[in-house]
Symmetry: C2
Subunit: 744 residues, 2 copies
């Protein structure tokens, strides 16, 4: 790598000269303030007065737009090039200034990636700044989320209301719309929540999957109503994360041709040059993953190369494309560019000044030059026009395709079909005993008939997790209209892909599955589901020592507790058929809160007293022979141990005790009930309480109190038949009875 001092010279040069089509412009050029040209407008391919909105063969529109784009590139003159430079520098300085004011943040990436950011938002992407949720927009994901000032600057220039100048000035401050990493729930225009590395690229795979699925289901030969790209910027950090490899392997397998990822290849990570830990050939790896790979060698000033790469990527329809763009982190900073020091700290006043000089930037902090402002101002009307055009197209689509359009509308709005929950199965105590994983499959298949947005699958355990939708085939490269997704053994990628699906359209309801213990592999993605309000349904089977012989590596112990402690997620552990149906009802209704269903491998009886309505309250009484809300003892169970609590109650009642049995299927839902309801289930006066759950007792003191007793497992499991482990670990009715007698 070149030394920092030699770079200073090249950086200094860059601010003063640049080459376009062989010509060299001088410093003074890029202070000229031309208006935006019509050719640039045409470059975005806007056809406001399209004579036929749903013409036969409208697929070609992409091509014709591409052609126009290419023409625009060719006709760009010096003035336009200069304006592009100026816009790019505006992006750089908005990032520099915001980080400087916050004295916190990451200026390096925005400075290096400003060219690709500019080209994407100004020249390539379809979006409507005044409606960030317009369905058919191109999606953009900044997987290298620490560089969020890049995206905030772009949203600001493009005219999004979420990022006004004031928001840039309150970057990373309490209550601002511009948090330290991109957060979809804070900033309209941000599609997903990134920052934890590798999540964004996997989210993008989910967004592209959703597009491919919906396009296959709803597009017609004479009308392409779903048609957008998904763009990503990811850096070296994302590339090192295993989740990225998982998701990208799937993207290649699925042939997600409309996924275009920019790999910001800047050779710098926090610890220094990537040479110290990252010397693999990313290109070769991605070729192995089935991607089309393009290398833009000069990402700092090779604008046409970036443009050409995007064109090439669009032309490759059957593979996702990785555009490796070699950039200089902190481009423009004379003393800090190309070093880790520019990655995650403010430049400092002195270096900001030096960078201003170096790039020829005479403006005050946060200033957007008038010509740049004017240039970008077209995106508001253009975006409105794009959406209007699409709306008109949809109106025509609606006339021709009533059923499809009605269905698509619900996917766009997120409105659940009336009476959908009536499809859920119910059970009586006479119904056959069954594993809740099987009962879950009954629910999934019942819901698939009424919920057009339900799709998902398992991490290579479909036949164990029982997650196949029988009425559908597999979502595959050549059958993208199907709804069973085969994730392979890629739990982490699976979770993050589902986050992307969920955030693509409010009506999409992704579910995904593995053994409950392997939530450990995907916990980072699950946490982001909770944070970013993605209503993913996690179908987690084999939820305890009840799985038996596979042993402690496969037996969850602390997992229920670990998710009960996580904010904004529902941890549900149903005990039988009605409770499984109830868990699905809750999970489907909670579109902004993910749900985890912990399900048994082993058969469980259908218990008297369980109900969907009970589950909705989180905790409820399934049987009681006490009166006056004064039982002698309250037995509390969840999932497969509710049966044990019920059995113990039967025995205790034979001995004359007044026993209440409470199913505690979701702590979070119970917490949300009124005090009166809670008192009706767990009266404060009754301290004789025994809980039983085949998992850690951690946290149960809250429910059973200091005078109660929590029966559980505070060690790792064991390899043996399930019945034997239950007995050896004391998860038995006898133990409950003994504890009940001890606390009464």
């Amino acid at each position: 790598m070149a030394s920092s001092s030699s770079l200073t010279i090249s950086q200094a040069l860059v601010g003063r000269t640049r080459t376009h089509n062989g010509s060299t412009t001088t410093h003074s050029d890029h202070l000229a303030l031309p208006g935006f040209s019509l050719s640039t407008l045409a470059g975005r391919g806007i056809k406001l007065s399209s004579p036929s909105l749903c013409p036969a063969g409208s697929r070609k529109r992409v091509n014709s737009r591409s052609a126009v784009r290419a023409a625009a590139v060719e006709t760009l003159d010096k003035t336009e090039t200069s304006l592009v430079e100026k816009s790019i520098n505006t992006i750089r300085f908005l990032a520099i200034d915001a980080v400087e004011k916050a004295n916190s943040g990451h200026p390096g990436l925005p400075m290096g990636c400003a060219p690709m950011g500019h080209i994407l938002y100004d020249e390539v992407m379809k979006y409507n700044p005044k409606n960030p949720y317009w369905f058919n927009r191109d999606r953009f994901v900044l997987s290298a989320g620490h560089g969020c000032m890049l995206q905030y600057a772009l949203l600001h220039l493009a005219g999004y209301d979420s990022v006004k100048e004031e928001d840039l000035k309150t970057f990373r401050q309490w209550g601002s719309k511009t948090p330290g990493h991109p957060e979809n729930f804070e900033t309209p225009g941000v599609e997903v929540t990134t920052g934890p590395l590798g999540q964004g690229i996997a989210n993008a795979v989910g967004l592209a999957l959703a597009e491919k699925n919906l396009a296959a289901r709803f597009n017609k030969p004479d009308c392409e109503i779903v048609d957008h790209y998904t763009y990503v910027i990811l850096g070296d950090g994302c590339q090192m994360e295993g989740i990225a490899n998982e998701a990208c392997s799937l993207a290649g397998h699925w042939g997600l041709g409309k996924l275009i990822a920019f790999y910001d290849d800047n050779h710098i990570s926090i610890d220094g040059d990537t040479e110290i830990a990252f010397t693999e050939s990313v290109d070769t790896r991605f070729e192995g993953l089935g991607w089309h790979v393009i290398w833009v060698k000069n990402g700092n000033t090779g604008y046409d190369d970036i443009r050409a790469a995007i064109e090439e990527a669009k032309a490759v329809k059957d593979k996702p494309t990785l555009i490796k763009v070699t950039t200089t982190i902190g481009y423009g900073s004379p003393n800090k560019a190309n070093s880790y020091s520019v990655h995650g700290s403010a430049l400092g006043a002195k270096e900001v000044d030096a960078t201003r000089k170096n790039l020829g930037w005479p403006y005050e902090p946060f200033h957007v030059p008038e010509d740049v402002k004017k240039h970008w101002s077209r995106h508001v009307p253009e975006g409105a026009a794009l959406e209007a055009e699409w709306n008109a197209k949809f109106a025509e689509y609606e006339k021709k395709y009533k059923e499809e359009s009605a269905e698509l509308k619900t996917l766009i709005s997120g409105e659940l079909p009336t009476g959908w929950d009536k499809a859920l199965p119910t059970y009586t105590p006479e119904s056959a005993a069954d594993a809740t994983r099987n009962l879950s499959q009954q629910c999934l298949n019942a819901l698939a008939k009424v919920l057009p947005g339900l799709l998902g699958g398992s991490a290579d355990l479909a036949s164990s997790n029982m997650t196949l939708l029988k009425m559908f085939g597999d979502f595959q490269k050549d059958t993208p209209e199907e709804r069973n997704v085969r994730f392979g053994v890629r739990e982490h990628g699976m979770g993050a892909i589902c986050n992307g699906i969920a955030l693509h359209s409010p009506g999409l309801i992704p579910y995904c599955a593995t053994f409950f213990v392997f939530t450990d592999y995907m916990r980072a993605a699950i946490r982001i589901s909770a944070l970013c309000e993605a209503g993913v349904i996690y179908v987690m089977t084999h939820d305890s020592i009840g799985l038996g012989e596979d042993g402690p590596t496969h037996q969850p112990i602390e997992h229920l507790a670990s998710f009960r402690a996580m904010p904004n997620i529902l941890m549900l552990r149903p005990a039988d058929g009605n409770e499984t149906a109830g868990a699905y009802k809750v999970a489907v209704l909670n579109r902004k809160r993910p749900s985890i269903l912990a399900l048994s491998r082993q058969k469980l009886p259908q218990l008297p007293g369980t109900s969907i309505e009970g589950v909705e309250k989180g905790g409820y009484i399934i049987s009681d022979n006490s009166s006056g809300n004064k039982p002698d003892v309250i037995l509390i169970g969840t999932g497969s141990e509710l049966e044990i609590a019920a059995k113990a109650a039967d025995e205790l009642r034979k001995e004359g005790k007044a026993v209440r049995v409470v199913s505690f299927v979701s702590w979070e839902l119970f917490d949300e009930q009124s005090d009166a309801y809670k008192e009706s289930v767990l009266p404060a006066a009754v301290s004789a309480r025994v809980s039983i759950e085949a998992g850690s007792t951690f946290g149960w003191e809250k429910i059973v109190g200091s005078k109660g007793k929590a029966i559980g497992i505070d060690r790792f499991g064991a390899s043996a038949p399930a019945g034997r482990i239950y007995k050896e670990f004391g998860i038995t009715a006898e133990a409950v009875i003994a504890a009940a007698k001890a606390v009464c």
Copy 2:
């Protein structure tokens, strides 16, 4: 893929004919019972009477052994080939029979991988069955842990005491030595704990790293005292997991030439043909990762190809090798081979019979034919001889290299140097305020001087986690003797690599670091640390909202609770310098229990009353103005909030209250104290208790009781300067004071 019926025919053929050097043997051949030949013995390269134990240029020994091996391959006659077949079928049927008896388990992999298993354990690997812990043994990791019957069968044949016939017959039963997945803590001879996919290959990278580091530190030009290979078998499932890509990228980067991985390429995963989810080119990906790649096209009967591949792999010194071995899952089963049905269930009596017929196996279940038994019986004396030879070599090494040999001995034994803990720094209230992450670095650097086994690093956050050992350089391909490991942004791989390092030798003490919130990325590896008794030290900084502006994606909330709920792990949250030193003391002493240190980004004062000894008790009083063990209120804090508790106490005392302040640095350690001690800190009679911790309150009821108050954070964090978030979230002395008054 060929259909199952066509395969049945080829399978059937295989049992009857096989080709070696162009000749065809008939069915009757492989029932012949020859003794083992001396050429086979020589094939393992045993030189019992080596004239010089530490000869100059002894590195060449590997090569000379290789040459002998190759010669042995060439001289193998039909009888020997037949015996190899018979041994391989013995392995297959031990697996088939054990799974059948347990009616649970995974016969498919052992049936397909028996040839490579046989060649490794019978012809290639150096080990001593009667001392599974012999330091210089070759390490073997079954990353596809579900196929554990392969390893149990091999350990049984090789003469390990841990797997007797009785153990095979109690496969997957309560208390057996043969659990459902390989567990090092149950079965001597098993190096690591696998089953959760991808962990094993990453463990193996750690084992190979340890060998490379120790070899570089201790080998001398005239004496190669550390010299072994690490072999792995991994399957499609492991290959799909992101952790495998992370670890293999590092293995390529580090040039771990003595790591040889067999990729069992059988085209079948649980959900069916790998075509449904795994169509990437693994070969190309591994070439991109910097591995040497070999393809053995016929892993079922191409024994010589497997042998030749191992030779080739050994000849490549600067790269790890992936040997892709194409096999048939469930090889030999006429109706189930090459299908997912043979992956994870017993074959069933009928198919077992059919397989016996197909492979010409007339024996009773669990029978090891006498000639096979006799053939394998040499491994006990040979293994003893190998160890004796090495011991003699070590004795000579000891004479020449006193210091090095003494150090190496402690690494082998795990004995800590006398007085090592005196190196830990201590602090007084007058010492400068500092972040515990910085204080952690002081401890690490102090310990590095006295603990030769301490090595580790960060996932690209060394300068944030403060984990660099200043007296050492980077462990890299060409500087493997150094002890700073650069993991790149690969948290999951990092954790599993550290498990491998820890399990290589008892005296190795690996530490690894990232932001605390990113334990979510590596939780599966951390859990296996806890399960497999690997005393890894997890240095987790930026442990709360105190990290400030990076926002909720980076701010841990539920993480403390989630690890407190996990068995066999120490969750430590020190408050200042003395407590950080105490946390390190505890972490170093706990060699069979991993520790997580949650450390602050922000500066914290050195508090009066904190101590190393206090930390060792988990919870202890740092200040108290009460008498008779009857404070008016007990304030309990951890980490950065202990300061807040202390401040609140000062205020309350001014108002005349008798206030005790308790540091609750580790719940697990406190739990292990005597009842008397616990009562002396948290007297049962005092229910007025307030806890404060900048994390989830989940679990705190156990400590503060139903009449106490837990101050914490039960929502996601926010992006803002730390002080502002603390205030907005009510993590303040004022809140503690108000709560204390409310509960008194």
